[in-house]
Symmetry: C2
Subunit: 391 residues, 2 copies
C-alpha cells in the first residue's frame, strides 16, 4: 500500500495561557493508506508544522514534507525508515520539517500496526511492554506553600513520583530554591521519587546550577533536568562532574537521533528524555533508546500533551524493563484529554500500561476533536496551499 | 528607540527547480525603529519562517517570534543580544524560530549601524574588514566533461577558488568520483584552490567517505565539506582522523552557536561554515568565529543566496585576516541579484571587500523585489494572522 493522504487537525484551548503547560494545543495527524488509518501528533506550534507540510519548495534539499511523503510505499518498518531518511535529505534545510514529520511517522507506525494487527512495540522488536511508573509533572508553585500543596495533591492522587519544574526555580535566591525543594519533598513524602526541571534557566552558567546541587541532594532528587540551553553540552558535562548522586536529564528538544546521542556522549546525562513528536517519530526514538541502554543511560519519554502522544512516546522503551519511569500528563487541559476516547490511566499499582491493541491502540474522538478545532488557511500567490479538513 | 515593525518580503523565481541551488527564493526582512530601517534575510523556506513569526502561542516557551521582538528596545549591540536570548527562551519549542529570527537579527544590526553611521563589522569590534578570496560555488556536472567545463568557466571569470558539490558525487562508483575530481582540478588549473562538497551523501558511512580521501588528496582538495548528516559528529571525527591533508568542513545547518561549537569540538572540522540566515544572525555567528579562531579552526561564511545575505555573512569574520576564503554566490538566479542595487563584486585582485558604508551597506531595490514578490496570506479561525505587505 502507499500513502494516500496526510491530514492535520489543529486543536487548541479557546485561550492559551503564557505558562509552561504544553497541553494547551495539539497538532493531530491522520494518515490513510489502502483503507487503513493511522494517527499521530506533532509537538509543537501547529500552524508552523502545517506550513512545513505545504510550503513551496525552496530548492532540491528544501522541499515541503508533503512532496517526500505522499505516494510512498508503506508496507514495512523499513519503509518508514526509508521515508524518514528521505525527509532528512530532501527537507535538509527546512528546520521545522523534523517536527512535522514526527507526527506523520507516529501515524505510519499506528497504520502499520493496525494493518498487521500488532501493537507498535512488537513491530519495534519487543516481545512485551513493561509497566512504567508515571511521574506527575507540574510547575513549581509561586510560593513554597503552593509547591507543597501541589506535591501533596499529586501524592494523594496516587502518584509515587513527581516532577516539579519551571516557575520561580532559579529566578530568585538560592534559599528560595531550597525552600521550594524542601516543600516538594515534604509534599510527596519521604518515599516518593522527586525529579526537578530547571527549564534551561541557567543557560550556560555552570556555577549557578552547581550551587543548587547541595539542596537537590539534601532532598534526594533523582534527576536535575535541563539546567542549561539544550546544546550547551560542555556545561552539562561540567555540572555532571559535580552533581554527586543527582543525575542530569535532558534531550526533549532533540530533533534527530544524533542530538540525543550527543547529549549522552558529550553532555554526560544520566537520563535521556525524548519527545517522539519532535525527534522524527518512533523510529529515531527507538534508536535513541537502544543507544541509551547500551551506554548505561536511562531512557524516558517527554510528553506534556495528549494520551495519543503518550502512547506513541512509550513504545520506544516499552520493552526496556529497567527504564521504569515515564512522564505522564498529570493534569492536561481538556483539549488534550477529550481528543481521544482511550486513556492510559494508572493501574491498581499506580503503574501505566500500554494498550494490548493493534497500532498505538488509541481510539480518537471525532466529537472531542471537533470542539477544539482551529480552522487554518494558508495561501500563496492567491492559491490555497492548505485548508483545514473537516472531521 | 524600540522595534516598531517587522515586515517580510517573500521573493521567488516563477519556477523553482529541483536542484541544489539555494538562490531560487529568498525571505527578506525589513525592521523599522524611530524612522530608521534595517534589512536582513532568512534562509530558507520563506513561508514557514513567516508562519513562525505569526503562529498562535502554544505555551509560555513556544511563542511566536513576533511576541518576543516587537516593542523591544534597540539602542545597542547588547539590546540585540538580549532579544536573541529572549527568543531562545520564549520560542524554545518552536523549531523554525531560529531561522525566522536570523533575518530579523541581521536587520537589527543593519539598523543600528545606520543609526550610528558605522559599518556592522565595527559594531562587532573589528577595526577593519580584510579582503576575502571568493570561491565560486557550483554543482558537479552530470559528466566529468561538464565538471571540467564549469570549472574552466569559473577560472575564466577570474575565480582563483572553486567549490564543486552535490550532483553525482558519491552516488556512483569511486572511479566516477575520481574522474570528476580530476576534471575539476584540470578546469581550475594547477594553482587554483579546490573545495569539494559532498552534500551529506554518505550519511554516517565513514568507510564510503574515507575511500574518496585518496582521490581528494591527489587533486589537492583543501576541504571536504559535509560528508555526513549534520549531527553525525562521531562520523566526522572518525573521518578527520583519516583525512590526511584534506580538512573537513561543515556547519551550515547550525541553528545556534552551540552546534557550531560542537562540530569544532567533537566533529574535528578544520573549517566551520556558518550561515547567518540560520544560526540566529550575526551575533551568534561572531561568537562562532571567535570560538573557531581560538581553536585553530578557520571560519567561512555559507551563502548561497543574495548579496544582502552575503554582506551579512561576511561581517562576523571581517576582521580575521587569516580566515581568507569566502563563499560567493557565483551564478545566482535573477531574484537573488535584482533584489539589491548594491553588489559585492570582486576587485581587480579577484578579492571581495565589504562596503565602507553604515550598517550592512546594501541598498535594496524596491523594483527588483516587486518583480519576484510572492503574496502570502495565513489565517486561523477566520482571522488573518499575516498578509504580505506591499512595497
Amino acid at each position: 500500500m502507499s500513502i494516500e493522504a496526510v491530514e492535520f487537525f489543529y486543536l487548541s484551548m479557546p485561550r492559551v495561557e503564557d505558562i509552561g503547560d504544553g497541553s494547551q494545543d495539539a497538532l493531530v495527524v491522520r494518515v490513510s493508506a489502502d483503507g487503513v488509518e493511522g494517527w499521530g501528533e506533532c509537538e509543537a506550534s501547529p500552524l508552523v508544522s502545517i506550513a512545513a507540510f505545504v510550503t513551496p519548495m525552496s530548492h532540491g534539499a528544501c522541499k515541503p514534507v508533503r512532496d517526500v511523503v505522499l505516494g510512498k510505499p508503506i508496507d514495512s518498518a523499513a519503509d518508514i525508515a526509508a521515508i524518514q531518511a528521505a525527509v532528512e535529505m530532501e527537507c535538509m534545510d527546512l528546520l521545522q520539517a523534523a517536527h512535522t514529520f514526527s507526527g506523520i511517522e507516529m501515524a505510519l507506525w499506528d497504520l502499520l500496526g493496525r494493518k498487521r494487527n500488532a501493537p507498535v512495540y512488537e513491530l519495534l522488536g519487543y516481545t512485551r511492554a513493561f509497566p512504567k511508573l508515571p511521574y506527575a509533572s507540574q510547575l513549581f508553585g509561586d510560593t513554597p506553600q503552593e509547591t507543597l500543596a501541589g506535591c501533596r495533591r499529586a501524592r494523594d492522587s496516587g502518584y509515587r513520583a513527581v516532577k516539579c519544574g519551571w516557575g520561580p526555580f532559579g529566578r530568585g535566591t538560592l534559599e528560595q530554591d531550597r525552600d521550594h525543594l524542601q516543600a516538594a519533598r515534604e509534599g510527596i513524602g519521604a518515599d516518593g521519587t522527586l525529579l526537578v526541571d530547571a527549564g534551561q534557566i541557567f543557560r550556560e552558567d555552570v556555577d549557578a546550577a552547581a550551587r543548587r546541587i547541595r539542596y537537590l541532594e539534601e532532598v534526594g532528587t533523582v534527576w536535575f533536568e535541563e539546567p542549561f540551553l539544550g546544546g550547551a553540552y560542555g556545561a552539562y558535562a561540567a555540572l555532571a562532574a559535580k552533581s554527586g548522586k543527582v543525575r542530569l536529564a535532558g534531550g526533549e528538544a532533540s530533533h534527530n537521533f544524533h542530538m540525543a546521542q550527543q547529549l549522552i556522549d558529550y553532555g554526560k546525562v544520566g537520563f535521556i528524555q525524548i519527545d517522539c513528536g519532535r525527534i522524527g517519530g518512533i523510529g529515531p526514538a527507538k534508536r535513541a533508546a537502544d543507544y541509551a541502554a547500551a551506554h548505561g543511560v536511562t531512557y524516558v519519554n517527554h510528553t506534556f500533551t495528549s494520551h495519543l502522544a503518550l502512547c506513541a512516546s512509550l513504545q520506544p522503551f516499552a520493552g526496556l524493563e529497567s527504564h521504569r519511569i515515564c512522564e505522564y500528563p498529570f493534569a492536561p487541559k481538556s483539549v488534550a484529554w477529550e481528543m481521544s476516547e482511550t486513556h492510559l490511566s494508572p493501574d491498581g499499582n499506580g503503574m501505566v500500561n500500554l494498550p494490548q491493541a493493534p497500532g498505538l491502540g488509541i481510539t480518537m474522538s471525532a466529537s472531542g476533536m471537533r470542539k477544539y478545532m482551529v480552522p487554518v488557511e494558508i495561501a500563496a500567490h492567491g492559491k490555497v496551499l492548505y485548508r483545514s479538513p473537516t472531521l
